[in-house]
């Protein structure tokens, strides 16, 4: 396992190089000229050309990539074309917000989703099963921006219990994290229910029951443990999405996170910022997937990587 861990950590470097290479050429394929976007609609061709020269976009693409990589090796992600601030500073300023929101949302989702899925599977076709299934359906079908707005209307405007947006206190985290968690809870609950229903009908569960074990032990130690692999995968994938894809929620709640930063950077064709943000997403995903793989081996000792 140690060898595997070292190999995985070392593989981060080629993966990041792959991401940077793919991203670099992908960005050049997107429609829209960053120099034109920065210069504005009224700019003269000369002004646009000056900005292009300033950003180094007038050089051949392979040369631009070589310059970018030589900086990256020195951990220099460059400066934002839009704000002129160092990319790393802007990312560092927003990363804690993104992490906080994602961690709270995924914790809420696991705390509610897994027990709801278990209850639903243990009592199939009962009122609790229907309640969980219908709630999950609502959670998955409601667009997050609409749910976010409705929560703002209810809790910030009508009841005035919570702030409508921004950051600063623990109250600010509640509405965006609940909005984000709504979809993930539903996803986890559905996955838990289905996989638990399958394991509850397996022979080893019947054996465990016939041995006289209590129902709680049968459910938690025998059925749930064997149903955990897909649940862990989904939690890992969703956590990754929360880290990078919470653009709509961040917009509704004016939450200064990385998702919004990336979206704004794409709109402005701010190449250095897009590259920096995606590289950070890549790092986060590599880390999340590594943790998920390690948890697999912990949950199911038959899983070996060496």
């Amino acid at each position: 396992m140690h060898n595997y861990l070292i190999k995985r950590l070392l593989s981060t470097i080629p993966v990041l190089i792959g991401i940077s290479l793919l991203l670099f050429f992908m960005l050049r394929m997107l429609p829209g000229d960053p120099a034109q976007v920065l210069a504005g609609q009224m700019a003269t061709p000369q002004e646009i050309e000056n900005i292009r020269h300033q950003l180094g976009l007038d050089r051949p693409v392979y040369e631009q990539y070589a310059i970018y990589m030589s900086r990256l090796v020195r951990l220099d992600l460059g400066r934002s074309a839009r704000t002129q601030n160092p990319v790393i500073d802007e990312i560092w300023a927003r990363l804690p917000n993104t992490l906080l929101l994602a961690v709270v949302a995924i914790t809420l989702a696991c705390l509610f989703g897994i027990p709801a899925g278990i209850l639903s599977a243990v009592r199939p076709y009962s009122w609790i099963d229907y309640l969980v299934t219908i709630s999950a359906l609502f959670g998955m079908s409601m667009p997050v921006f609409w749910l976010g707005l409705m929560l703002v209307v209810l809790f910030a405007v009508i009841l005035q219990w919570l702030p409508a947006g921004g950051t600063g206190s623990w109250q600010h985290v509640i509405l965006p994290s609940v909005t984000l968690a709504s979809f993930v809870v539903a996803f986890i609950a559905r996955m838990t229910r289905s996989t638990m229903l399958e394991t509850l009908s397996q022979d080893f569960t019947t054996t465990a029951r016939s041995k006289g074990l209590t129902e709680t032990v049968v459910i938690l130690k025998h059925a749930l443990k064997n149903a955990l692999i897909p649940i862990i995968t989904v939690v890992g994938l969703q956590f990754g999405f929360l880290l990078g894809g919470a653009v709509l929620t961040e917009t509704v709640f004016a939450w200064p996170g990385l998702g919004r930063l990336l979206y704004d950077s794409i709109s402005a064709r701010d190449y250095p910022m897009i590259q920096g943000t995606i590289l950070i997403f890549g790092l986060l995903y590599i880390f999340v997937n590594l943790v998920v793989d390690l948890i697999y081996a912990f949950v199911d000792p038959r899983i070996r990587y060496d």
């Binding site: 991203l23 960005l27 609409w146 559905r190 897909p230 897009i274 199911d300 038959r302």
Partner: protein, 275 residues
């Protein structure tokens, strides 16, 4: 003698099929939620199929005299700012949404499941390689990946489906691979290997059916996700249920009754897809 044997086999085969069908039907009847879901899917598919019969005429043709009408018998959900029936546009939109949902998920399944199976079953260098590619793909947010692919492949429904579908592939790879890692250690897989069954048969006949439950859940949820994804990225005018709720212009211009419920069209379509 041979004839009798063949008849028996044939009759047994029919009996097994009939029995399986009866069992499935009995199971479905017990599960009221699944039954309701099935009816909703049927209504959704039939309404998409018979859209021209239900709402004759062009759903995108403006009719400014009827702009922002309250719900009537003719237009049960009222009209939008251009006087077009909202229900008519939702029904026509379900045709595109259905294509998107099925198309995107098909791309995800066709590419993701075999790669996930191979990655989990063989392990070692193959797994390592496939997983690093998956890590790379996951680093790109779906909308950026789709945007870049559309830029390369060109605009159009087919290319959009391929683009969104490819962004769903890593999810399937990770999910299938995780389940296979566990299932490949089961006795029946070892038994199949011991009797010399080919790997492709083991993968698709022995392992795949045992990892179908999470794949089914993922597929039903991906359909809803694909509709919303398409809705927020689509820039063409055809009516689309998801888009009806996402496009801000339409949201604001809907009759005041629907301003409170702008998510209704996509909610309906996502609910049906995830049933």
């Amino acid at each position: 003698m041979t004839e009798i044997k063949e008849n028996n086999v044939c009759q047994t085969g029919e009996w097994v099929t009939e029995n399986r069908f009866r069992r499935s039907w009995a199971k479905l009847k017990r599960n009221k939620a699944a039954l309701v879901g099935g009816v909703l899917i049927l209504v959704y598919v039939l309404s998409a199929f018979f859209a021209p019969v239900l709402f004759p005429g062009n759903p995108s043709a403006p009719n400014l005299i009827n702009s922002l009408e309250t719900p009537t018998f003719k237009d049960p959900l009222g009209t939008d700012e251009l006087g077009r029936s909202i229900l008519g546009r939702i029904i026509y939109g379900s045709r595109i949404s259905l294509l998107i949902a099925v198309g995107v998920v098909s791309v995800g399944i066709i590419l993701g499941i075999p790669l996930g199976l191979v990655s989990g079953y063989y392990g070692g260098k193959i797994d390592f390689g496939i997983q690093r590619v998956t890590d790379t793909m996951l680093a790109f947010p779906g909308f950026l990946l789709a945007l870049a692919l559309v830029a390369v492949l060109g605009v159009g429904l087919k290319n959009t489906v391929i683009s969104i579908g490819i962004s769903m592939v890593p999810m399937y790879i990770r999910l299938v691979r995780g389940c296979v890692l566990s299932v490949r250690e089961e006795d029946y897989v070892e038994a199949a290997r011991a009797v010399g069954t080919r790997d492709v048969i083991i993968l698709f006949r022995h392992i795949l059916p045992n990892v179908m439950v999470p794949i089914t859940v993922q597929t039903s949820l991906s359909m809803g996700m694909a509709i919303l994804f398409w809705a927020s990225g689509c820039s063409r005018p055809p009516p689309n249920g998801g888009r009806c709720s996402v496009r801000p212009g339409l949201t604001c211009s809907m009759h005041h009754m629907w301003r409170r419920f702008p998510a209704l069209p996509s909610f309906w379509q996502c609910s049906v897809s995830t049933c």
